[in-house]
Symmetry: C2
Subunit: 440 residues, 2 copies
């Protein structure tokens, strides 16, 4: 293989992921050179505090700079690797880099979910590569398969567990019966949850990934704003127990669906919310902080991708894979598979999406209650799959546990509102969506 001038990298950010990227670039140098056909060299690393001691890192101190803009603009920089995150200034840096024809590798899911269009346009202007395998599900090779391997097929549904923090919390609640707060505390202690866990537990992180997966899977543009989002902060130990009762477990799911509407046109939807899924579902067994994405395609059938969804090393592995890809493309004077968003599909709002609900009601324990409740469902065109009634002995109260058939989410929500307003209903104890075929 003919040796060539080194390809020069500008690395933006040197946190957990950046540090691992630099370490791997050093450790795997020979293999990377062989795979690319040219060596890689680091032109500079942009950080907030260049003079901070990074003793462990195998790079000379003078490579660190606080001038990201200047580093990106440097004529000798071929590839810009962004592991800073956030919308700005990351977007401006990457747009400049792409327009200047530099290849970009980024793990910035928030930016991609917000504005892939701008980045993709800049990449087209510069006739260069924009790769971001690390933005979703860490090291799990997922975007490339969706972008390329399944290009000859029609993806119909993507169901994923794409946030390790919430999966760790829900797994704990399931295995120990703990409440949300207790499980969150443990996750924080063990470093699975950040000091401010909002982005994870409120589902923002998963929603960003849902937007990226839906865009790639369905060849259309879906942004975070298009994603219906509910986090796990309201999931109670009672919800988890109720799930167990029906052979299910509770997961925070990211679900992207393609549907052909009655008028023959296709539309897509993307949503993130807690849901009960049968323990027999391949995703039910995904525990702790692991991620897994279940893809259904017309010809391929059911596929599942499983692995570590976060962490410095796994994420860095995905970043390195992209670096090798764009570096090889540069060496061969070409660019890789661009995002295709040709489909321009309508985004279906949550109210139109057909889901199933699991509803627990504290009701007065007297004759006719079930009839009254059943009538409310009927009035909203929601059909009931199962009802379980448990007398509670004290205070003439009973618990009604209802699982519905599939119905438009809007109809289900208004049914719950109507139930809440019945005077025989003391309280709506729990409401959760159900995904997958349940036994009962």
């Amino acid at each position: 293989m003919t040796r060539m001038e080194p390809l020069k990298l500008a690395i933006l950010g040197c946190g957990t992921v950046g540090t691992e990227v630099v370490r791997l670039l050093h450790e795997q140098a020979d293999d990377l050179t062989a795979r690319i056909g040219a060596p890689l060299s680091i032109a500079g690393i942009a950080v907030r505090r260049p003079d901070r001691d990074r003793g462990a890192l195998p790079v000379p101190r003078e490579l660190f700079t606080s001038d990201a803009v200047g580093l990106v603009k440097r004529a000798d920089v071929d590839i810009v690797v962004e592991v800073v995150g956030g919308l700005e200034p990351a977007r401006s840096w990457l747009v400049d880099a792409l327009r200047a024809g530099k290849s970009v590798v980024t793990a910035n899911k928030a930016l991609l979910a917000e504005d892939t269009a701008t980045l993709a346009a800049a990449a087209a202007d510069g006739d260069t590569d924009l790769y971001y395998e690390a933005a979703v599900a860490g090291a799990i090779p997922l975007l490339r398969p969706l972008r390329e391997s399944l290009h000859g097929d029609r993806v119909t549904r993507i169901t994923g567990i794409v946030n390790g923090t919430t999966n760790y919390i829900l797994s704990k609640m399931d295995s120990t019966g703990a409440g949300f707060g207790e499980a969150l505390d443990e996750a924080t202690e063990l470093g699975y949850a950040e000091a401010d866990p909002t982005a994870d537990v409120e589902g923002f992180d998963a929603a960003a990934k849902a937007a990226i997966l839906a865009s790639l899977g369905f060849h259309t543009r879906v942004t975070a704003a298009d994603v219906y989002r509910v986090g796990i902060t309201d999931v109670t130990a009672a919800d988890v127990a109720a799930a167990k009762e029906m052979g299910c477990t509770v997961k925070l799911l990211c679900i992207a669906e393609r549907r052909t509407d009655p008028d023959g046109t296709d539309s897509v939807s993307a949503r993130v919310h807690p849901a009960m899924i049968p323990r027999s579902h391949p995703l039910a067994g995904v525990g702790d902080a692991y991620n897994a994405v279940f893809v259904e395609a017309e010809a391929a059938g059911q596929l599942m991708f499983y692995g570590a969804g976060a962490g410095g090393a796994p994420t860095a592995s995905a970043v390195l894979g992209d670096i090798v890809a764009v570096a090889r493309n540069r060496r061969l004077g070409r660019s890789g598979t661009p995002d295709s968003a040709y489909a321009n599909l309508r985004i279906r709002p949550m109210g139109e999406i057909e889901t199933r609900y699991h509803i627990s009601l504290d009701v007065a324990d007297r004759a006719g209650v079930l009839a009254t409740v059943a009538t409310v469902f009927a009035e909203h065109g929601v059909s009931i799959q199962t009802v379980r009634q448990e007398g509670r002995g004290q205070g003439g109260e009973a618990l009604l546990v209802i699982v519905t058939h599939r119905a438009p989410d809007a109809a289900l929500r208004s049914t719950v509102d109507a139930l809440a307003s019945l005077d025989i209903v003391r309280q709506v104890a729990s409401v959760m969506r159900v995904e997958g075929e349940t036994a009962q």
Copy 2:
């Protein structure tokens, strides 16, 4: 997107997979055109009997020809899709096509496992693409992730269930307690096993896939001849029961490992054999005819890919994905990621590989037997993890169930031979390798 002249396909073979490929090319035509930036058209389909009625297929009869050589040579053919299988004449057709600069998409695992080197060289000569995602694990996007996504990482181990027929048979034996013959008969009835199941049940199919996975994962050449192979025909109901006893299930595993030898050089090994794995292992839950491949890499950690490993539609999905990839490459006047076999690693023979054995011995039920048996293990430098002794009452016989620690396979095999020659050993009832960490 600028429309272009159609890219012309020569399809070699029109069996289960070929038929699905043709159907998908027709059904997905508009999407494929949008994704490629140019339409695809079928120049011809080479089959043994061109005049056979293929009524259902949406292609004009005159496209069928028995002259594969002529079709491949046609100047207007851009892409050759081979779904015939077998070494010859497939190899000659593909070598001609590649040398002539035509892109090749093939699902021919036997040929790739035997002689990827020749095909890769021809692809280099023609500066064109050789893609074969469909050759391993049907629709599961696996080769592209290994070739590209994990290029920045170091794959250490690949463990897979890559043959649906044998997995169906072993799953049946596990769930019903049936013997091999009975389970095979059922698999045949249900169409999971071919009339002549040799290639599947003797592990030849899995060995071919092992060679391909090892080559891609470790960037070196491994051929089917390098793969140690044992099929499942000798797996008995007793073996499966014994596995259950220790919380395991029996799977036909394909295992490719990279190891750094004491002298600092790396070597690789590839093997296919039945093994007991703990039910807690992600692969243990892979039932029926499904495939799954478990990949371990230094930075990425543990990844698993799961899906339908065979069948017309899933395999066709992988073929179509490759067709889109090579078609786009042609449209952009480039070629994709070539195989890299730069590593040239030594192939480690089975005898050197460290494994663990589960051994059941019918022994005379008298004092000192265990001591004698233990001495044999010690003499061969094999250390025992657990021994279970069961008196059998009748005829003064006992059953000794031994699980060893890891030891070179050669040492374990000679231990078994030595045990068989002891006169206190009535017979070696069962011997099977054990993979993964077992509880006891």
